[in-house]
Symmetry: C2
Subunit: 217 residues, 2 copies
DNA sequence: AGTTTAAATCTACATCGTAGACAGAGGCGA
DNA sequence: TCGCCTCTGTCTACGATGTAGATTTAAACT
């Protein structure tokens, strides 16, 4: 070590900084959003957070909209659709897909609205759609009807995740819920006390899944 | 006119500029968002658009978040729940409520995400909730179960409106859908051609409405 | 009239998204 | 090997933006 004459100090490890990648930037952006919230996120902070120039991101994404598309893609990738029960009955497959989607989104409450506010058209997403429709068709469900079913499931699931994320994050920002005995303790407050904010989700899934059993007349 | 000595000129009509109101600001903000998009909206533009100082808005709303709460409230008011068929069967009432909510949101595609990303806790919204639960309870549905049902309906409806608004606004931003004959014309594209982006909505409502018929065991 | 108070205005600041010019490094044909 | 080209990252710059704070104006009340 001390024998090397020319450089006065050999840094212990040039901390492997090859180049930036779209994928890496997207996941880094997601991590930033997770920890500091969507409101505080900025392109410059992302560049700085990964140890590059604040403007470096623009070499890989045209603008913030483009970056957020990448974040949505990263979220979809996290669902890991490959490990879904593709060989089981289609109803279970669809149900598990929705549960996974919900869990994934709720793991990133600050990023849910990024996912919810854009149509995800990534190849991975399209492939999954094709695979789903193919399976349902093989089980006798016409693709058009299957697509309608999945649109329902997806909109419900995303709407649910968004609602849950938003109430969890915004908790405390507004008035507390009235407790029993308060003049505002109405039927709604009473019912809210008798439920959890999310104990309707699986029932909703079941309802949609069963409502689509019989094909359109 | 000319006899009045003290003011040199009497303006023909002081164009009725009394003071700003929270409500007026909220609807003006909604109008601005409608015409120029949420992205281009700013607090200063709102102040200027209503003919006041750019900073005037902050006298009535603490910050942008607060303003958007007001915008969501204005959207809810536009549903005009008072004219719903409160005397008909509850299923029809709930269905019409969802349809109205969807139509209202889709009339403001740029503002849907403002509505979707906050829990609306306005008095008007709470009153509606109480009225709904009361009606359902009178029809034999336990309030907790009714609340679960309405959460499903609401999340589905908002999720749907958001999805539709987002695809309509973003149309053209990305690759066109592959046409028949293209190598990418897969089962998904085929099914998409056989459906409209929203012809599943009413079926979804029906499914949820029927799935909740039998109370939890 | 004088005083209190709310509403509106003005100034100021840090930050943001993004455009555009510039720099170094690696590849590649000559 | 040389010169060139392209790709990535850097730097500077500009016009907004959200919001804090001091200041003015006008209305309301005593």
């Amino acid at each position: 070590m001390t024998a090397d004459p020319s450089p006065p100090v050999r840094l212990p490890e040039p901390p492997t900084r090859p180049t930036l990648t779209r994928e890496y930037l997207a996941t880094a952006a997601l991590a930033l959003i997770d920890t500091h919230g969507l409101r505080k996120f900025s392109m410059r902070k992302l560049g700085a957070a990964v140890g590059f120039d604040p403007m470096a991101v623009y070499r890989h994404y045209a603008d913030q909209e483009d970056l957020f598309d990448g974040v949505a893609e990263a979220l979809f990738a996290e669902i890991d659709v490959g490990t879904l029960p593709w060989d089981g009955p289609w109803r279970r497959l669809a149900r598990d897909y929705c549960l996974r989607l919900r869990d994934t989104l709720l793991r990133h409450p600050h990023a849910v609205q990024v996912f919810a506010t854009r149509p995800v058209r990534s190849p991975a997403s399209i492939d999954t759609g094709v695979k789903m429709l193919t399976k349902l068709r093989d089980d006798g469900i016409p693709p058009a009807q299957a697509l309608r079913l999945f649109r329902c499931l997806r909109e419900f699931t995303v709407g649910h995740a968004l609602a849950i994320a938003v109430t969890r994050l915004g908790a405390g920002r507004r008035s507390r819920r009235p407790g029993p005995g308060s003049p505002d303790y109405n039927l709604l407050a009473e019912a809210a006390d008798a439920t959890t904010p999310d104990d309707h989700f699986e029932a909703g899934l079941t309802a949609i899944l069963h409502g689509f059993e019989q094909p359109a007349p």
